[in-house]
């Protein structure tokens, strides 16, 4: 590297110093990325580079030839090409790191999901309605129920039971008094709850005389539904408050009456 260069080479160097410096800059960006590769001329002292620079001579004031311009253009293109490749490689590394940050936790989560099969069933009630028809033996309480299994294993509801709680008392409701319907057809238990599904059913509750007496008592009421599952039981509750005028309207009127409720059970409700 340190040996004296011929005159032709000197001319070449003098014409290409800007490009060479450009290459040096490009290499610095490589070094930032941790690549230990060093360009072939990186270790040449600046004094030697300057000593190889041709001094201006009268003949150098002439216009450069076409070949020289082409050579300059080619070297500039080489420089730009190298810069472009560096940019792609830099962002490629960044994207790779980002991809790994996403893929590794996801892979771990998938592995856990594959190894640990479990149902994740829940039963929800949001709104309810009471219908009173004077000639019927009981009021009809109806509400939609949503059964959802967000787990990775099928589940089943093996039975159903309900309990009506009123001021100071509670009454159990049998399966006959508490029906589950889908499009008007009664659904019998056991009921399969497939994994990753959500299904809505209509529930209709008919009161026996004792339950009707409790429901017609002014105060807060809570209807609790219990569905025994394969491994555990699922429950959901629906609360509604009736004052004296509600009771007169819904249980003693000689007209058809309906009342909607949209009340979740809060802590302290019964």
């Amino acid at each position: 590297m340190g040996r004296r260069q011929p005159a032709a080479a000197k001319g070449f160097v003098s014409r290409h110093i800007p490009s060479r410096l450009g290459k040096v800059r490009a290499t610095q960006s490589w070094r930032r990325l941790g690549d230990l590769r060093v360009p072939e001329r990186w270790d040449v002292p600046m004094s030697k580079l300057l000593s190889s620079v041709e001094m201006p001579s009268p003949s150098m004031g002439k216009e450069p030839s076409v070949e020289d311009r082409l050579a300059k253009l080619r070297s500039d293109l080489d420089y730009l090409s190298a810069e472009s490749k560096n940019w792609i490689k830099t962002w490629g590394v960044y994207l790779g790191i980002l991809g790994a940050l996403v893929a590794i936790p996801k892979g771990a989560l998938d592995l856990v999901t594959q190894l640990w099969l479990r149902p994740e069933t829940s039963v929800m009630i949001k709104t309810g309605k009471i219908t009173h028809v004077p000639t019927l033996a009981s009021e009809i309480v109806e509400f939609p129920i949503v059964v959802m299994n967000l787990g990775n294993r099928d589940d089943a509801l093996l039975g159903r039971s309900a309990k009506l709680m009123g001021p100071g008392e509670s009454v159990d409701l049998s399966e006959a008094e508490f029906g589950l319907f889908e499009n008007g057809q009664k659904i019998e238990v056991p009921l399969l709850v497939s994994k990753a599904t959500l299904q809505a059913y209509d529930v209709s509750v008919t009161f026996n005389p004792k339950a009707r007496q409790l429901a017609a008592t002014p105060g807060m009421h809570k209807l609790e539904l219990l569905f025994p599952g394969v491994n555990r039981s699922y429950s959901s509750a629906f609360c509604f408050a009736l004052n004296k005028s509600d009771v007169e309207d819904l249980f003693e009127s000689d007209q058809v009456k309906t009342k909607n409720f949209d009340l979740k059970c809060a802590k302290g409700n019964l």
């Binding site: 028809v133 004077p134 009809i140 006959a176 009664k186 209709s204 008919t206």
Partner: protein, 98 residues
């Protein structure tokens, strides 16, 4: 068998029979249908006045009854009576929600 043993056995037997009787004769209701405009159905009259008409569309069904509620304006006309398997015959009407 002494009296202390007989009484609990009789109580269990009577309770079981009463529970079975209640289960067999308990009349539950499906979620009522509120008739929408254009809805037409036939059934026995549960209740009728100027504002509402309530029909039982399952008169022969004893365990699960379906009722339909029509609100004024609605139309009603006589329909063929229905004879149930137990021998009872019910007069029916056809109603349509206006």
């Amino acid at each position: 068998m002494n009296c202390l043993t007989t009484i609990p056995i009789l109580a269990v037997l009577v309770g079981s029979v009463a529970f079975a009787f209640h289960g067999a004769h308990f009349q539950a209701y499906k979620p009522p249908i509120e008739a929408k405009p254009g809805y037409v159905t036939t059934g026995t009259v549960v209740q009728q006045n100027a504002q509402t008409l309530v029909l039982d569309t399952t008169p022969c069904e004893h365990s699960e009854k379906q009722i339909v509620i029509f609100h004024s304006p609605f139309g009603a006309k006589d329909a063929e009576p229905i004879s149930c398997p137990d021998g009872k015959t019910f007069r029916r009407i056809t109603a349509n929600q206006g």
